[in-house]
């Protein structure tokens, strides 16, 4: 069901915790849905200089949190919010279709943290909104431009 890389990130997640004096904080998800993710970032010269996460959720939720924090570290804010759920899933070697919403949660958490930083500094948010806030959001949908699922072999 899960790739070895998903299991590695789940068993030994990177960047766990909450940054003290974080420049931006994003918290997304809902305990009713079983997933809550909090990402804190430090920003230096419009780059993500440090990042940490806390996640309540399944193996995929924890693994996507871990990998998205690895991916975002050192990126510009624009690059960080451009990370897509497919980028996250591909970086993990694939995710089961039913778990794609976990990668959305990870990217949404990151976007929320970046926007929080920008708003606190009197700037416009750049994320373009969170997928989870969209009433038409289908957590099981795949990226339409690829037409392919990101499911791994069962």
């Amino acid at each position: 069901m899960y790739t070895d890389l998903v299991m590695q990130h789940f068993q030994n997640p990177h960047n766990v915790g909450v940054l003290e004096d974080a420049d931006g904080t994003g918290e997304v998800g809902n305990p009713v849905c079983g997933d809550v993710m909090k990402i804190t970032i430090k920003v230096d010269d419009d780059r993500v200089s440090d990042i940490a996460f806390q996640t309540l959720g399944c193996g995929a939720a924890i693994a996507t949190s871990s990998i998205v924090t690895d991916m975002a570290r050192g990126m510009t804010l624009e690059e960080a919010v451009a990370i897509s759920k497919m980028d996250v899933a591909e970086a993990l070697g694939g995710l089961p279709a039913a778990k794609m919403h976990c990668s959305v949660l990870a990217t949404d958490g990151l976007k929320a943290a970046v926007d929080d930083y920008l708003v606190k500094h009197g700037r416009e948010p750049i994320s373009g909104g969170l997928a989870h806030d969209d009433p038409d959001f289908d957590p099981h949908a795949v990226e339409p431009e690829t037409g392919e699922t990101c499911e791994v072999e069962a």
């Binding site: 766990v16 997933d35 399944c58 193996g59 939720a61």
Partner: protein, 400 residues
């Protein structure tokens, strides 16, 4: 103690409600029917007659165990799911055309719920009766939803997720008082507790071999003599024209042997399993912010279903698996659905709580050391996951 990185994790299987290993004694009972006594039980020559005798011996042995009026009330099927489907569809299809209403409980197995929903799309009205918070269906709650046109009621004997035992005799009598048939899914209870079709007064019951150390791929359906039934498997007319298809003779021999062993060992094995189960319940409840699902006393001896609040079930399952421990969860994430277990929701468990469920089930090969290992392994996992949670401290107001 949990193994270190250089040691292969020990293997502790605590998911006996999912399936059981086939007992070697059962395998031994089956083996001759694969290679030497391989006849088709419907053939007239000696090899066929030999297979037929073996099949009927298995049927008689099982029928005696559940106290049928006749062995012919027991038909072999391809498993518990087939038996449930056959009962729901076969009993309603043969019902008086004026009876177009069926009742099932909210926490039935999907093998009952899905055919019930299918029937609801094909001319029947479906009413779902809910258990109370203790995981027990009350006869008065069933009575309140019965109608003069109710054809069939289906309530499972012991719930497969939370383990609660239902008052089947009272529920069956309640259904009969309104002229409805009564089916119970006993896949999880056969052999674990006394099961007597006459004492319970049921018209139909579902059984499965692989839950009692028998082989997968064989089940049985009890159909009380005289009960009108429309078969779904049509063909050669085997199994008294109720389930066509060449019978699984090795499977039947194994199923009967598995049930014989269960019956023989139950007086000592039942209390042993209940003690292991209770150690698991007490051990998990010793952790803060945990709860037991379902009534503490009226439950199967092998099933414990617990909530570890602030942890997600699949995450606990995978961490336990890394230590060689196999358990189950009612968390949504393990099922590929976004909804947690319908069983936990049916007893009033809030979704945010139900996500943290663990089903821990013991069996014939579970030892005290296995339970020790589980109880040693879970607390650090719970602590790690709670520390990783952004909401645990907020929700529960204390540290992990």
């Amino acid at each position: 103690m949990a193994p270190d990185d250089t040691t292969a994790p020990r293997s502790v299987y605590l998911d006996y409600a999912a399936t059981t290993p086939t007992d070697q004694r059962v395998v031994d009972a089956m083996l001759p029917y694969f290679t030497e006594r391989y006849g088709n039980p419907n053939s007239l020559y000696a090899l066929g007659r030999d297979a037929s005798r073996a099949l009927e011996a298995a049927r008689e042995s099982m029928a005696a165990s559940i106290n049928t009026d006749s062995p012919n009330e027991l038909i072999f099927t391809g498993g518990g799911t087939e038996s449930d489907n056959a009962a729901l569809i076969g009993l309603t299809a043969a019902a008086d055309g004026k009876r177009r209403h069926i009742v099932v409980s909210a926490f039935e197995h999907h093998a009952v719920l899905h055919p019930a929903e299918w029937l609801a799309k094909h001319g029947f009205e479906l009413t779902v009766v809910k258990p109370r918070e203790d995981g027990i269906i009350r006869p008065e709650d069933l009575s309140a939803v019965l109608r003069d046109d109710t054809a069939l009621v289906s309530v499972m004997h012991g719930n497969n997720e939370i383990g609660t035992l239902q008052p089947i005799a009272e529920l069956a009598a309640t259904a009969h008082a309104r002229g409805a048939l009564f089916h119970t899914d006993a896949a999880q209870t056969l052999g674990k507790v006394d099961f007597d079709v006459r004492a319970l007064g049921v018209d139909a019951a579902t059984f499965s071999a692989h839950k009692i150390y028998g082989p997968k791929g064989i089940g049985a359906l009890y159909l009380k003599r005289g009960t009108r039934f429309a078969p779904q498997m049509l063909g050669g007319g085997q199994e008294f024209k109720k389930r066509s298809g060449t019978q699984n003779v090795p499977g039947a021999a194994g199923f009967a042997e598995a049930l014989r062993i269960m019956d023989e060992e139950r007086p000592t094995e039942g209390p042993r399993l209940a003690a292991l189960r209770d150690r698991i319940i007490d051990g998990v409840l010793a952790l803060e912010n945990t709860q037991l699902n379902g009534d503490r006393e009226r439950r199967l001896p092998h099933i414990a279903n617990l909530i570890v609040k602030g942890c997600e079930g699949e995450a606990m399952l995978l961490r336990l698996d890394a230590l060689g421990i196999s358990v189950s969860t009612g968390s949504a994430c393990s099922s590929g659905s976004l909804e947690p277990s319908h069983v936990l929701l049916s007893i009033g468990c809030a979704p945010e709580i139900a996500h943290g469920s663990l089903r821990v089930t013991v069996g014939r090969f579970t030892t005290d050391e296995d339970v020790d290992y589980f109880l040693e392994s879970l607390p650090p996992i719970a602590a790690t996951l709670r520390q990783m949670s952004p909401v645990y401290a907020k929700m529960f107001g204390n540290s992990a």
